[in-house]
Symmetry: C2
Subunit: 301 residues, 2 copies
């Protein structure tokens, strides 16, 4: 199994980054990852003002996936996420859902023990290790790893966990995949701008669907497909997610727009990812019993 | 058990409406309700243009709850929701999450059978009968039953089902409670602007928490409390929901704002109600294991 060091870190998704490793669809890969603060927060006396902001939100990679070509879909099977026994969370003035309020910068070290996040001595929450940032290089330009888009990125979807699959559009040769920003636990919204930020290891493998593309990243969990859309507001992100879901139902059942729109009102749950990054994320959740992968991952338009 | 006819219908929440019934906290009440179209859609040939729009989104009531005074909290225990064996759904041009697209008005009659909604012959969805509109009179003015606010209203929360409790602020003597707009099934978002609209019967009972108030309607389900906020955009609604959740955690654990804000990022799930009404609804979902009713329903501010 190839192991990629957390020192191989990028701060943007871009074709300009030279691959740090080449992998095939026949092998597993282990990515070591930094935490979202780049490991800079060592204790609770750390002041947020001391942070080197050029070293946050890193993603390990990029990985060149052999045979991935523009117009294909990259399938990322997340097999395991390993995290250590402590993490860190921070509130940062002018950040988060309540950024308009006046409050202080605070850093808190959070111990983990036996699958529980110990926020306070008596207040525990079940850990749910997840990947905050995961994506590929866009066709042109450079997208900071702290943002999100059709290429993936900092989507902060709490369901991106082990035993799920993510389908990403391939824009450049080899896809140039990278991931990082693990969270030991995060609720839908990530409302204060951070979660329990942890370094760790991700074990994954790749597959490629040749010549078919997804309009947004698609997450496959045990019972659902989720279309991971984003926009400048939650309202815009919702409309984009619904649009993609309705189009998928039109393909799935050969329905009119009107019938697919109706049905979406009954079975497509709009869910919030995070509300705190430059782009807001909404996912459209569709039961797998009602939708096939083929209708989500279709011919190139 | 007192039975209130669906002919006792209001189209706004307001203190101006004379109560149609007086009830105590010791009795059950049955509300008959019209569907959201006021029963006007009889078959699929019905044209939306023929609808009398002054007769849609009605709510049955208002009910005067004895001893409910301004500053109290009205507790509504929803015991049973009975629906018939067919409903209706419509797409309406210029409505819904995709209102900017060009499409036709379509009405579809949806049969129900053995707890399943039969969208098409082979395409069934499990029914989940829920109340779309439920609320009390505001302090001043008149709020259309098709809108929502701190008084409740057309919140379209799919978890407002039987065996849940809703906590509503009381603004006027007797609360002047009303409910209607039952849905046989609706997904989070209600993206096309309607769901499977059904008439029906709601059996409920009331209780009163004296001298304590909720800042937003609170829904209690088996494992969660949800703060039902709304705003002019999903983004605004999210911030209001988070604000209320953070304040509740500050009360619950006697925490600083910063600590409550952090913790909310780990355990408060922001969920979408509907994205299609004049006000957008977001609910902040909090596990009951981490929050008491007392911190949500507190002294009047």
């Amino acid at each position: 199994m190839k192991r990629i060091s957390a020192r191989k870190v990028i701060y943007s998704f871009s074709r300009k980054h030279k691959p740090v490793e080449h992998v095939t669809t026949k092998e597993k890969v282990l990515l070591e990852t930094e935490d979202a603060f780049g490991g800079q927060v060592k204790d609770e006396n750390m002041s947020i003002e001391q942070l080197d902001w050029t070293k946050v939100n890193g993603a390990t990679g990029p990985v060149f996936v052999d045979e991935a070509k523009p117009g294909d879909t990259l399938v990322v099977a997340i097999e395991e996420i390993r995290i250590p026994d402590k993490g860190v969370i921070a509130v940062i003035p002018n950040q988060g859902a309540l950024r308009n309020k006046s409050f202080s910068a605070v850093v808190k070290i959070i111990p983990l023990h036996e699958g529980q996040v110990h926020f306070e001595r008596e207040i525990k929450v079940k850990a749910n290790p997840m990947i905050g940032t995961i994506g590929v290089a866009p066709l042109v330009g450079e997208i900071p790893t702290g943002s999100l888009g059709r290429h993936g990125g900092n989507m902060d979807v709490k369901e991106v966990t082990s035993r799920t699959k993510l389908y990403l559009p391939v824009f450049v040769e080899g896809a140039l995949f990278a991931a990082g920003d693990l969270h030991a636990v995060q609720a839908d919204g990530e409302v204060c701008v951070s979660a329990v930020e942890v370094p760790g290891e991700i074990i994954l493998s790749f597959d490629i669907i040749k010549g078919k593309s997804v309009s947004w990243p698609i997450l496959e969990t045990q019972n659902s497909y989720a279309i991971l859309a984003c926009g400048d507001s939650l309202d815009e992100a919702s409309a984009l997610a619904v649009d993609a879901a309705v189009e998928a139902f039109m393909r799935e059942y050969n329905w009119s727009f009107e019938k697919a729109y109706m049905f979406s009102s009954l079975v497509v749950d709009l869910k919030v990812n995070q509300v705190v990054d430059p782009k807001k994320g909404i996912r459209a959740n569709i039961p797998k019993s009602l939708m096939s992968l083929e209708s989500l991952c279709h011919g190139n338009s």
